[in-house]
C-alpha cells in the first residue's frame, strides 16, 4: 500500500486510484475496495459505481471543471486533483473553487508531479492530502508545511488575511 500525507501525518493509502486506458476506454471496476475514479468514468458509470461496495472518490485532471461534480460532492469520500506537471498550476485554483465556491469539506487530495516544495502552497489552497511523486520521502517532506510562519493574503486554509488578524492576537 502506498503512503500519503494526510492531515500532516504519513499514512497508508486505503484508496486505489483508477486511470482511463491509453485509448480513452474505461478500466475494469474492481469488485471491492475504495476507489478514486477519473471524471469520465464517474460520468459514464455513475449508478454502477454507487451500487458497488466500497467507498467512492473522483479525480479531476487540471483541464477539467470542478463545476462538473459540484452537485455530486456529497456522494464522494475523496476528491483528488492531478498535477500533470509541476508547472501546471490550474489545480491550485480548482482546489480553491471546490472549497470556496462549492463547499467541499472532505478529503481534497493532490497527486502527480508534486513534491515537498509545493506543499506549503497546496495546503494554502485547501488540499489536506498529498500523494507525492515517486521517489519522494513523505516523512522528510513534512517540514515543508512550516516553510513560512505567516501568510499575508487570505486563503482557503486561513480565510482571514493577515490584516484582519493583526489585532486579534
Amino acid at each position: 500500500m502506498a503512503v500519503i500525507i494526510k492531515g500532516m501525518n504519513v499514512i497508508s493509502d486505503p484508496w486505489q486510484r483508477l486511470e482511463l486506458n491509453a485509448d480513452g476506454s474505461l478500466p475494469p471496476v474492481p469488485p471491492a475496495g475504495d476507489i478514486i475514479v477519473p471524471l469520465a468514468m464517474w460520468q459514464r458509470l455513475r449508478e454502477g459505481l454507487l451500487a458497488r461496495p466500497g467507498r467512492l472518490g473522483v479525480w479531476l485532471n487540471s483541464n477539467e471543471e470542478p463545476a462538473a461534480i459540484a452537485e455530486d460532492l456529497r456522494l464522494f469520500g475523496v476528491v483528488a486533483v492531478n498535477f500533470p506537471k509541476v508547472t501546471d498550476g490550474r489545480g491550485y485554483s480548482i482546489a480553491c473553487q471546490l472549497r470556496e465556491r462549492y463547499g467541499w469539506k472532505g478529503e481534497l487530495r493532490a497527486f502527480g508531479d508534486i513534491w515537498r516544495d509545493q506543499l506549503f502552497f497546496l495546503a494554502g489552497c485547501g488540499f489536506n492530502a498529498f500523494a507525492l511523486r515517486e521517489g519522494e520521502d513523505p516523512r522528510e517532506a513534512l517540514t515543508a508545511f512550516g516553510d513560512f510562519s505567516e501568510t499575508y493574503q487570505g486563503s482557503v486554509a486561513r480565510p482571514l488575511p493577515l490584516f484582519r488578524r493583526r489585532h486579534l492576537t
Binding site: 502552497f121 489552497c125 505567516e150 487570505g154
Partner: protein, 581 residues
Amino acid sequence: MYRYDEIDQRLVEERVAQFRDQTRRFLAGQLSEDDFRSLRLRNGLYIQRYAPMLRVAIPYGLLTSHQLRTLAHIARKWDRGYGHFSTRQNLQFNGPRLEDTPDILAELARVQMHAIQTSGNCVRNITTDHFAGIARDEIVDSFVWCELLRQWSTFHPEFSYLPRKFKIAVNGAEADRAAVFLHDIGLQAVRDKGGTRSDGASPGGEVGFRVIVGGGMGRTPIIGHVMQEFLPWRHLLTYVEAVLRVYNRYGRRDNIHKARVKILVKALTPERFREEVEAEWASLTDGPSTLTEEEVRRVQGQFTRPAYAQLPGDDVGYAAQLATEPAFGAWAKRNVHPHKVPGYAAVTLSLKKTGVPPGDATADQMDAVADLADRYSLGELRVSHEQNLILADVRQAGLHALWQKAKALGLATPNIGLLTNIIACPGGDFCSLANAKSIPVAQAIQERFDRLDYVYDIGELDLNISGCMNSCGHHHVGHIGILGVDKNGEEWYQISIGGNQGLTRAGAPAALGKVIGPSFARAQISDVIEKLIGVYLEQRESEDERFVDVVWRIGIEPFKERVYGGHHQGHERHQRSLAAA
C-alpha cells in the same frame, strides 16, 4: 520608504532559509535541473548565456541609500563590480555563482530586500510612477497601493504556477508614467466624480481604480482593455484575485508564446473575459480580503515621510544660477522635475552616458549615488523604468552643487526625454534569449546624436531598443522602436515609429509603433534614424510638436519613402539577400 515590520522581516528570512535548502538539495543531486528551475526562477535566478543572472527586487523602484550601498557591496563581493538597472525597476547582477546566491539573498534580507518573484510564472514586482508621492498631478500616493498589492501577491498560494509571468502596474497621478495600458493588469487611480459625499466625510471624491487588463508588449503587443471604469479601492484585492483566477484556470499552457493573459482576453473577447471575472468575483467580493481603511492607514504609516523643510517657494539663488550658467540650465531643463512641496525638486541622474550600456552602474557609482542621496535627497532614491536613478526630494538651493557632483560622476548627461536617453535591454551581449545585440546599437546612435545642441532641436523623443521579441527594451512603445531579429543566423534590426508608452500628456494615449519596412544591418541604423529625424524636422509645425506627434499627424508613409525610397528599396533587398547568402 516602507519599513518592514517584524513579520515582513521574518518572511524574507524564511525565504532565504528555504532557498538555501533548495540549492543544497540541487547541488547534492537530490533535485533535477528541471525541478530546481521552477524553484530558482521564483527567486530571481536565471542560468544565462555566460553566467547566472540574479534579479533583485526593488519594490516599485523605491530604495534607500543604505540599500544601494548593500547592492554595491554585493556587486563587489560576489559579482563583477557593477549592476544593471532594468526596465522593471529592478537590479540585475550578471555574474554571481550559483553557490553564492543563498548568501547574497541573506545579505539582501539584512537590509529589507529580496529577490522574491522577480522571475518565474508568478506575480512579478509591481511597478509605478517614479514620481509617486511628489508629483504635482498626484491623485493618490501609489506606493501605498503597490505595497498593499506586494503583500497580497507575495507567496500567494494559488498563483505560484501561472501560465506565464504576470505584471501589475499602478499609476497614481494624472499623467500615466507607469504604462498602465501595457501591463497584464494596469491600475489607474481615479477620484469618483461625485465630489463630497453626502455624509461630508470625504473632502474629495472616493478613490478607486480604472482596471485595465490584457495589455502588453512581447511578440504580440496589445493595448489593454478597461474592465472596470471605477473599482472602489476596498475591492482592489478581491477583483485582482478574480482576474488572476480566471487567468490561472483558462490561460493557455500549451504554447509559451500564447500564454499571457492578453491572449486569453483576446481569445475570449474582452466582454466574455469580463463576465468570467465578474462570476468569479461574485464569490469573493465583500469577503475577508476586502480592504479596510485601517489597513490602508497602517501601510501608509509604515512608510517614512520625508522631513521637508518649510520653504517660502522657488529658490532665488537657483533661478539666478539658471540664468547665468547655460550648461547648468541645460541640465536643469531636462533632468530637474517639479515637486509638489515648495522649494523642492526631483532630479534624474542619467545612467545613459554615451559609451556605457544603458542602465549599468558600477559599485563605485552606486556608493557615490548613495552619498548624494544622503546629502541632497533625504537618503532615498528611486529607479525609473527608463533605467535612470531619481533623487526625489532635493532642495532647489542644493541643485547646483548636486549637478557639479553628478557631472564628476558621469551621471549628469542632460538627456532625459531626449533621443539619447535610450531604453535598451541587456541584449545579445548578456542575454541568452536575444537575437541581436542592443547595447552597441544604442552606443552608435548616442554617438551620432551626441552633439547636444542638435538633440535639443529634436526635442522629446523616446527611442527604445529590444534585442528580441520579448521586448524587454519596450521597443513597441518607443516613438522610435528598434527590434533585433535573427535572419539566417545574422543580426538584423526592424524599425517601428509612432509608439507611445501611455497618456503622459493630454491627447496622446498609449500606442504601438508601426514597422516601417524591411529590417537593416546594424551599421545602417544610425543613418536610418537620421533620415527619420530629417523628415520630422522638415514636417513639424513648431518646436512643440514632437516627433511622435508628427508621425501621428502625417502617417508613416513620408518616413518610409525617405528611408527606402523607390528604387532604393529594391537595392536594399538585393543587399540583404547578398548578406543572407
